[in-house]
Point group: D2
Chain length 343, copies 4
Amino acid sequence: MNDRKRIRAAVVGLGYWGPNLVRNLHASGEFEVAALCDENQKRLDKFGDLYPWAKRFTSATEMLQQDPPELLVVATPVKTHRALTLAGLEVGSNVLCEKPLASSVAEASEMLELAAKMGKRIFVDHTFVYTGAVRRIKKDIAAGALGNLFYIDSVRINLGLFQPDVDVIWDLAPHDLSTLEYVLGTRVKTVQAIATSNNPRGFADVAYLHLEFETGLAAHLHLSWLSPVKVRRMIFSGSKSSLIYDDLEASEKIKVYDHGVSFDVSDIEQRKQVLVSYRRGDMHAPAIDTTEALATELKDIAAALRGAKNDAATGEDGLAIVRTLEAAQKSLAAGGTKVSTTP
Amino acid sequence: MNDRKRIRAAVVGLGYWGPNLVRNLHASGEFEVAALCDENQKRLDKFGDLYPWAKRFTSATEMLQQDPPELLVVATPVKTHRALTLAGLEVGSNVLCEKPLASSVAEASEMLELAAKMGKRIFVDHTFVYTGAVRRIKKDIAAGALGNLFYIDSVRINLGLFQPDVDVIWDLAPHDLSTLEYVLGTRVKTVQAIATSNNPRGFADVAYLHLEFETGLAAHLHLSWLSPVKVRRMIFSGSKSSLIYDDLEASEKIKVYDHGVSFDVSDIEQRKQVLVSYRRGDMHAPAIDTTEALATELKDIAAALRGAKNDAATGEDGLAIVRTLEAAQKSLAAGGTKVSTTP
Amino acid sequence: MNDRKRIRAAVVGLGYWGPNLVRNLHASGEFEVAALCDENQKRLDKFGDLYPWAKRFTSATEMLQQDPPELLVVATPVKTHRALTLAGLEVGSNVLCEKPLASSVAEASEMLELAAKMGKRIFVDHTFVYTGAVRRIKKDIAAGALGNLFYIDSVRINLGLFQPDVDVIWDLAPHDLSTLEYVLGTRVKTVQAIATSNNPRGFADVAYLHLEFETGLAAHLHLSWLSPVKVRRMIFSGSKSSLIYDDLEASEKIKVYDHGVSFDVSDIEQRKQVLVSYRRGDMHAPAIDTTEALATELKDIAAALRGAKNDAATGEDGLAIVRTLEAAQKSLAAGGTKVSTTP
Amino acid sequence: MNDRKRIRAAVVGLGYWGPNLVRNLHASGEFEVAALCDENQKRLDKFGDLYPWAKRFTSATEMLQQDPPELLVVATPVKTHRALTLAGLEVGSNVLCEKPLASSVAEASEMLELAAKMGKRIFVDHTFVYTGAVRRIKKDIAAGALGNLFYIDSVRINLGLFQPDVDVIWDLAPHDLSTLEYVLGTRVKTVQAIATSNNPRGFADVAYLHLEFETGLAAHLHLSWLSPVKVRRMIFSGSKSSLIYDDLEASEKIKVYDHGVSFDVSDIEQRKQVLVSYRRGDMHAPAIDTTEALATELKDIAAALRGAKNDAATGEDGLAIVRTLEAAQKSLAAGGTKVSTTP
């Protein structure tokens, strides 16, 4: 809470995620929930009753025209992101958009171009980068705590929910991609994708993505809507120590294993003379900041709108993810060949 | 124990695994440990002291010539399997060989051909197919308990041990491949392999294999020598229920989840009209036969040598695994393209 | 939701638990949140804003006089339960009171007597008895699935929170006691209590209660505010099978082990001739109804107020728990001797 | 291994535990397995075949008379400990005796007296005090890493095995008691015991022991032969940090939680003015020495026999445990009253 003027925000889309955004906007003390929009009148009224001061709209166009907000929050299906974001930018709003930012690189690029032209900001709701756990991982890697990274393996699987408009890659991979690009501070360079489809719509419902980052590091993602158990686990294997991030652990989300492998090449000509030594050391589970990610996110976005430089995920971050998703789609179509994220 | 004449067995290779084989041969009541062979005299004597009646040799050739066993057990590094097996067959022995059966399809084929010519049997030590857990999985799948299989995901990772002569694929994948071919009753048709190498020898130390079986079913393997934690877990995702096999669980190695996903296509023309329904039901962990796998294996092999038809893993099973390993090697060299296991 | 007239409810106490009650009263469709009361004006207003139609009071007396509710919900510290409940009954309200019902048997008895005199109902908020897990356990026990019960062990431990007005027994034991009396369908007959105190107030912060039920069955409770890890686990050991209830498990709260121990006494005179046999069978984790307990509770209370007979926890159930708590207090003072719950 | 003369040892009792002792005596390089004794000739021969140089006896008396060993190892049922130990001491042997040392304080005292008179040593096989985990706990406590200890809770439960001659207290408690006395460096002063019996022999098969040490610290033990799951877990709750020792964990047996509770009494007269503050910090799982406990034990015993002062568990340690067991038995008979371990 503070004395500064609150930033006027309007939210479009009150389905699964929108209400969480509204609740946090209201609680942040930084924003005023000025307007709410959903094409479903019943849902709009039911939820709107909790925020009696906010104006209600079933049309986003009408909402934007009547009273352009300083921040338009877009929490609708991905196919509508482009049109809503462009409309918001046109009336002079900044935009916070759900992930993935758009359905294609072309769409995302168009959105970023208009934002640049209008002098407005786009933020993308990469929620995980605002969690205490992910911020801690970034810090540990930056401090060299893991040594030289060998590889990263990520598993994000559970039963359903099948999305009506996107496949399992577009649904789940943005979480891993945004997390990894954030903690590594680099972008994905190439993707190889393999998937299977077990549903009549023909969408991928199980997928494996093999990523190579600009730095040469490799990461592998297992994504599935068809697993009987829910798993959210990343392994960061390093030369000095290794880290496991298990998002389903209540109190020990991060475990750092002081294990190591070192290779001593006595005769470089004769590479066979390699002495491998292992170290099995302590395990350490640091206490993690448990602030709700959305609270941190909105605080960061408010600060960014007020001029601060910080880690708030930008349109460029959103575009980068869409580049990888689109490359994965191409790799899939080509039978798993390596596809670059840049044309 | 029984009154039948024991089968005279000779074991070559007393490193890590050989002593387990000797102990189980002796305990089975079916075999007589007639001779032991290891080129390291000290190791031979130390271990030989526990079986004072067995003759000791530092040369396998000498051992085979002096007194050909009915069963030659080969527990040496893979590069020596061909020569030892051929030598054993030449003197009229049947052979039980460590996995993988050979270093190449060519080698394995040569071994099977000589066995056929000599009228002798080759068995391959695919230990997992003799465990209570794997036999239960085979039974459940055969009985239709899982319904239609969607996909299989297997993780076999831990820290080390780096093998001196093979990469992580040749070291770890035989376990998964032999288990899967056994429980599914079918062979791998194509492989796509991706790997990373973090050691100076340039061997793959982390690998992902994507398999397609003759039946069209897909399976994915994560193999690693660079994981801080040990995982041995297979997920069999099915339409009726799903099964998780965790080999590190002491008492609940198999969990069957009575969860399901069903798709109801109301309008086949309009594939978008798909109703997805989920069922989250009970979980069931059957009691598993805990007989040591090697005990079952040697009992099965003894029975096979006495004429029975049973599930003992044969040279053909061993050759099939080598076909997949070789195809994986080719896929790796070709950047992850799909490679057939048959020429 | 239905067309019936909603039951007018007033809630006093908007601290930790009260808001949950209000949210569920509102969501149930059975109650109207007519009035809210908290002596802290700021808390009252902050929370009251979400229910703009409800009248707000800082004095319960005033609230009861202005407009007596059909159901008074008491969510205040235990020392105030008696006065508030009596006041509610006096104006003709039924009462739903937080657990434990009162600070002493004398108080609780007084409350029940006035309710009887006024022809009104007292309910006590024994939340656990409305969970899917506890209802399933009751059903399994009643159906004889466990056979003859040997004993029950319960662990309810974590770090804090130290309560300002009650010790660890009065704070935590009501959960176990209400759960056990409900699933067993019987009352505690005797208690032995041992405790340690590590805080300057001299309150028990770690306690062990040994209970004997009317049926002769024994149960043991470990209660602690000083454990580094949180545990919520009950073991029901039975002759036919055993059940473990782990309330912290997300998806497998109940596990039924088809293990058994049977005793075969060949010569009853010579009791030493006992043949013990063990059976280690399957484990089964039934799917549990995951409806929020408070939703079921309020539905049951509404139904009870409309005349139905059901499992809603009554004042008698609340009094029984207070009897055991008071007996535990006496046992503690007497060095752990066995104390009866009935005078 | 070393050049020193090996200590001649004889082992009586080749049931469950004896063979482990023999294997470790042989492997230690410190002892010579000179003689083996078991009244069951078949068992004696089967096991004796692995140590062909050792003399075999079916009578301990005969064995002791023919060739008195320097160390007699007694691995027989508890009721025979006294006679065998006395017989060994009489012929001038030192004795390593299974736990519990004897069936009563009287017996144990008699054994210690004869040892003193003969100038010989008694060791008791308190295996846990030689594990890397328990030694680490002792070190951590001694270094003040836990701060002020609040209490200790131990759970040692599983399904069976019912022992033919002792109840669950005499069977399982010695492990906890020896571990706790060792890590705390103090003795149990009083015991309160509660138990239930569900078997026709009338033995306790579930028991709870509440201990108070000389220092005033309390510990609570849950012992059971009737639990569907196996648990081996001790909680050491401390003011600075808390430690959990889970003996069933493969790689993280000890977890130290840097959590704390502190009490700030602003007004000592008004004890109600207590400010409780919590700290939830990191968790740390140190790497533990995984040497087999028996190997360390025998090395320590050999060193003690050669004159060293070390942590080898002595007859006095064994007697202390028997004192507590006998006191527990008395408490049980008296309905759970507090019984002193010293007359």
